[in-house]
């Protein structure tokens, strides 16, 4: 990473409206960040767009897929001429126009072939559309090299993110208002507003303690202890388990079979977690809503994930600890904290 991280006049003009929100220091940290994005489909393309616009140093897009007609229609940065070509390469051609100051690289190899060396050069890793086993491997590598990691997906109208920022220090600016003081001479001073940096630290658990998949022999106690668990936490696990088993997401062309399998997995997972009480909130009709990626939901979840990337890199503002769940029925989005047994 370069030592000269001062912003140029061009940069301060371009980023003016965001520097006025998060400050120069955050912008300088963004400018030094090298990010890896795994998967550049509906959700991935939204995340990429937002973080390219924010002004990071470099972004590597890792995706071994080919542009299909369907993919092109749902991804603003793919053109019709690109159909049949490598998706990562096609993506960066158009995405580069978003911000010429960011170094974009396409990597079209199979993500699962990447070794720990590959990951070590990044400040932050953003992963989408991968199986949990691979995710846990990446998490292990990231932890060893203190690389922050966020993972997320959109399934139809539903979406989520899961963060592992490890030991994450952050600060927020608070405004403290001091009241009027009257001195003995009778001259009163104005109330003074002062910006105070308030520092704090979050310790994130490893992802294997957050996403506990069936048959992994992990303890479920710390999850069972959570009161009022957001039912969509289980929907996330069900969909991830589906992907693990089938090697793909649910498809509309296999709808009947896929919904059947989702129901089976739901039963297993809810009983593993003794969570049958959420059955009423997690009706089978929800499975109507989990096919393909609904573009506006990608925009929402992609916006949330990109903002978490900005928080992770800049060390400013309170990050989501550690699971974010988007409710496809009410359009609300909530944090669901998952802590380890030790942290309880």
């Amino acid at each position: 990473m370069g030592t000269n991280q001062q912003l140029s006049a061009v940069e301060s003009e371009l980023y003016d409206r965001q520097i006025r929100l998060w400050g120069v220091k955050s912008q300088e940290r963004l400018r030094a960040a090298n990010v890896l994005l795994i998967g550049v489909r509906g959700l991935g393309s939204e995340i990429a767009k937002n973080i390219i616009l924010s002004g990071i140093n470099s972004l590597v897009i890792l995706d071994d897929g080919i542009v299909s007609e369907e993919e092109q229609q749902k991804n603003f940065f793919l053109t019709r001429n690109g159909i049949g070509k490598k998706i990562a390469e096609e993506f960066i051609i158009k995405a580069q126009l978003l911000n010429p100051l960011v170094k974009l690289t396409a990597d079209t190899s199979d993500p699962t072939t990447k070794d720990s060396k590959f990951f070590e050069g990044f400040t932050m890793v953003v992963a989408t559309r991968i199986k949990t086993e691979f995710l846990m491997q990446i998490d292990k590598i990231c932890r060893a090299s203190k690389i922050k990691l966020i993972f997320g997906d959109v399934f139809g109208s539903f979406g989520y993110s899961v963060s592992d920022f490890q030991e994450h220090e952050y600060y927020v600016d608070q405004i403290k208002i001091f009241p009027i003081k009257r001195s003995h001479s009778g001259i009163s001073t104005k109330p003074v507003n002062e910006i105070v940096k308030v520092k704090d630290q979050f310790i994130f658990p490893e992802l294997k303690e957050v996403l506990i998949m069936p048959n992994t022999k992990q303890s479920l106690d710390h999850i069972k202890q959570i009161r009022k668990m957001n039912p969509y936490y289980y929907l996330m696990l069900i969909l991830l388990e589906f992907r693990n088993r089938q090697g793909r997401n649910p498809e509309i062309s296999n709808k009947i079979k896929d919904v059947e399998l989702l129901k089976v997995i739901k039963k297993e997972i809810l009983s593993d977690f003794d969570a049958n009480c959420v059955e009423s909130k997690l009706g089978d009709d929800l499975f109507e809503l989990v096919f393909a990626e609904v573009v506006p939901v990608c925009a929402i979840v992609g916006g949330v994930i990109a903002q978490e990337v900005i928080k992770a890199v800049s060390g400013k503002e309170v990050p989501i600890y550690n699971v974010f769940l988007f409710d496809p029925l009410t359009f609300t989005g909530k944090e669901q904290p998952i802590k380890t047994t030790k942290q309880h």
Binding site: R17, R20, L21, V196, G303, E317
Partner: protein, 612 residues
């Protein structure tokens, strides 16, 4: 093959390719909305925006690139969308939605209207047209990390104007002219000075000492002929006479005028007295004493006074040249020289009044009322807008409750929170109730017809082209037809027979909006009372007065141990001067007016209703 999403209501899937959508605004939210519509299978879209592209838009308005700077947003946005989805019908208008070309017949073509606007005037106008056309409207806005999406439809929800919105922030004139105590007071004064020297003259923007300050008057030592008030009459001529000599200007505003102020000894009994500053002394102030931690960008640094003197001198010279080709200049936050002038004057005046200085960067924020804007908040908000659209197309109104985007805090797990019911219409709303009605309190002998039209009907009640008839007598008071009622303009209301108890039928054909106005005679008691009041329900008048009282008390009792967190940009805007007596003349702070060209302005409510 279609890109209509699979995982939504099947009836909505059918509607999407058939419906016609109007998007108003191609800024931060508008760009995102257009992309979401195009990628979700909408085939027939119209987009209108009167703005052109600026460099500071490019960090979020992703349909635009550097080479598009200066071009119309609507046109470029259309081209960008077509590059991805060439078979969409998309029509772009580089125009103002307020124009009479976009009346009821225009609106009636659409199934749904999506607002992505940046100002209240346009929001009010679109609200009225959607009510008139009985169209569902999705209203949205963002500011910094926050955002909101609201569904509005006649008979189903409240309208955009059902709840009174916070009014423009004002400062008492004597605080600005005589007793500034905060940087923002110096900024307002400096913008007024800009207008005095280079802009359109406005008697409300006087910068010289105010001898009528009720606090100062007690002393009664200064004779009227000795005051700045008399002198100011010829200020503009005097400026021309000295040919904008920077030293003479400086000495008048920062030395002579301050000496005048010092004569009003009463003002300085409980305040730190200002210290008059001569040009030749200011030039020697080359040290900046305040410690600054590691600020690398010059614009964000606090500079020694001598450098502000130079900035003053240079900007006056450049602005004087600009004035040569024009009748007057208009202050613009994107004009670096105009910002230099205000930054220099602000910090010189701050020095004189022992007020903390501000960096040019911060001064630009406050003077230009710049609302920070980021890509992520716009993306999230626009995502919600289009999810709402899916539901409204199939009339699932009850599923479109108000949604708020909030920055994550340690106090809340909600990032996106929703109301649990749709807000009901205000039965007294002067826009959406079945018989819109307001009381206007006014001095009928004093207010002219022109003032009534421009201040009451247009500025306050947001009409565009009103026709006004005096009920029962059939007198046409105001006509939207040019030349028909000009003769009435200078007449007082009473001269046309409008007196206490008169009823005026006001009609705006563009907005298809009719309003009955009851005239009430009212005489302002003190010189600083407003010249008119508009009230839907006279009971509200009392409630408002209570509120003012309460808020006054609040500002003086903020406890130290309980710091209030607000966005950085709000620091100065939020602080009030609790020492100022109520009898000072209030003046508008012009940064709150519609000169802001940012796309993402919103009125975010202070209280955040959370879903349980």
């Amino acid at each position: 093959m279609t890109s209509v999403p699979d995982s939504i209501d099947p009836r909505a899937r059918e509607m999407i390719p058939k419906c016609k959508i109007l998007v108003i605004g191609a800024g931060g939210i508008g760009c995102e909305v257009l992309k979401n519509l195009a990628l979700s299978g909408f085939k027939d879209i119209e987009i209108i925006d009167l703005d052109t592209i600026d460099v500071s838009n490019l960090n979020r308005q992703f349909l635009f690139r550097k080479e598009h700077v200066g071009k119309p947003k609507a046109i470029v946005a259309r081209e960008s969308i077509l590059a991805h989805s060439p078979d969409i019908q998309i029509k772009a208008y580089h125009d103002s939605i307020l124009s009479s070309d976009y009346g009821l017949n225009f609106f009636r073509k659409f199934n749904l209207v999506l607002n992505a606007l940046d100002n209240r005037t346009a929001r009010n106008h679109v609200n009225r047209l959607c009510l008139a056309a009985d169209l569902p409207l999705i209203e949205s806005g963002t500011a910094g990390y926050s955002g909101q999406v609201e569904f509005i439809k006649k008979g189903i929800t409240q309208c955009y104007e059902c709840q009174p919105k916070a009014t423009e922030k004002t400062f008492p004139g004597c605080t600005i002219r005589n007793t500034p105590s905060e940087p923002v007071h110096c900024i307002v004064w400096s913008k007024h000075l800009f207008n005095q020297l280079f802009g359109e003259e406005d008697p409300d923007q006087d910068v010289s000492p105010d001898m009528e300050d009720p606090e100062a008057k007690v002393e009664g030592q200064i004779s009227e002929t000795d005051t700045g008030n008399v002198k100011r009459l010829s200020t503009r001529e005097w400026i021309k006479e000295i040919d904008y000599d920077p030293e003479k200007l400086f000495n008048k505003f920062f030395f002579d005028d301050i000496n005048y102020l010092l004569k009003m000894a009463n003002l300085w009994k409980t305040r730190t007295a200002p210290k008059p500053l001569l040009y030749k002394d200011a030039e020697k102030m080359t040290k900046q004493e305040k410690v600054q931690d590691n600020v690398t960008i010059r614009e964000m640094q606090l500079l020694p006074i001598a450098e502000y003197v130079q900035m003053f001198r240079d900007s006056v010279a450049t602005l004087k040249q600009q004035l040569d080709n024009k009748n007057h200049l208009v202050w613009d936050k994107d004009d670096n020289i105009a910002v230099d002038f205000v930054a220099a004057c602000t910090n010189i005046r701050a020095q004189i009044f022992s007020i903390e200085p501000k960096s040019r960067f911060d001064i630009k924020s406050i003077a230009g009322n710049i609302i920070p804007a980021i890509a992520t908040a716009n993306a999230i908000t626009a995502g919600l807008v289009v999810l709402f659209a899916f539901r409204l197309l199939v009339e699932q109104y009850e599923k479109c409750n108000f949604v708020y985007l909030r920055p994550k805090s340690i106090h809340s797990r909600n990032i996106l929170a929703a109301d649990t019911t749709l807000p009901k219409a205000n039965p007294n709303c002067y826009v959406c109730s079945p018989e819109p009605f307001v009381n206007v309190f006014v001095t009928v002998e004093k207010m002219t017809v022109l003032e009534f039209e421009s201040e009451v009907l247009k500025k306050h009640l947001n009409m565009i082209a009103p026709d006004v008839v005096l009920d029962g007598k059939g007198v046409v008071v105001i006509s939207s037809e040019e030349g028909e009622t000009e003769v009435n303009n200078s007449k007082s209301l009473s001269e046309l027979g409008i007196v206490d108890g008169s009823i005026l039928k006001c009609d705006d054909f563009v907005q298809n909006y009719s309003l009955t106005v009851a005239i009430n005679q009212y005489n302002p008691l003190e010189k600083d009372d407003p010249i008119f009041k508009v009230v839907a329900n006279p009971e509200d008048l009392k409630a408002k007065e209570e509120e003012v009282k309460n808020s006054k008390e609040d500002t003086t009792s903020v406890p130290e141990k309980d710091p209030v967190k607000v966005g950085i940009s709000q620091i100065d805007i939020n602080s009030e001067d609790p020492q100022e007596g109520p009898s000072c003349k209030k003046r508008k702070i012009e940064y709150a007016e519609a000169e802001d060209s940012d796309d993402d302005l919103t009125e975010v409510p202070v209280t955040i209703p959370m879903s349980p």
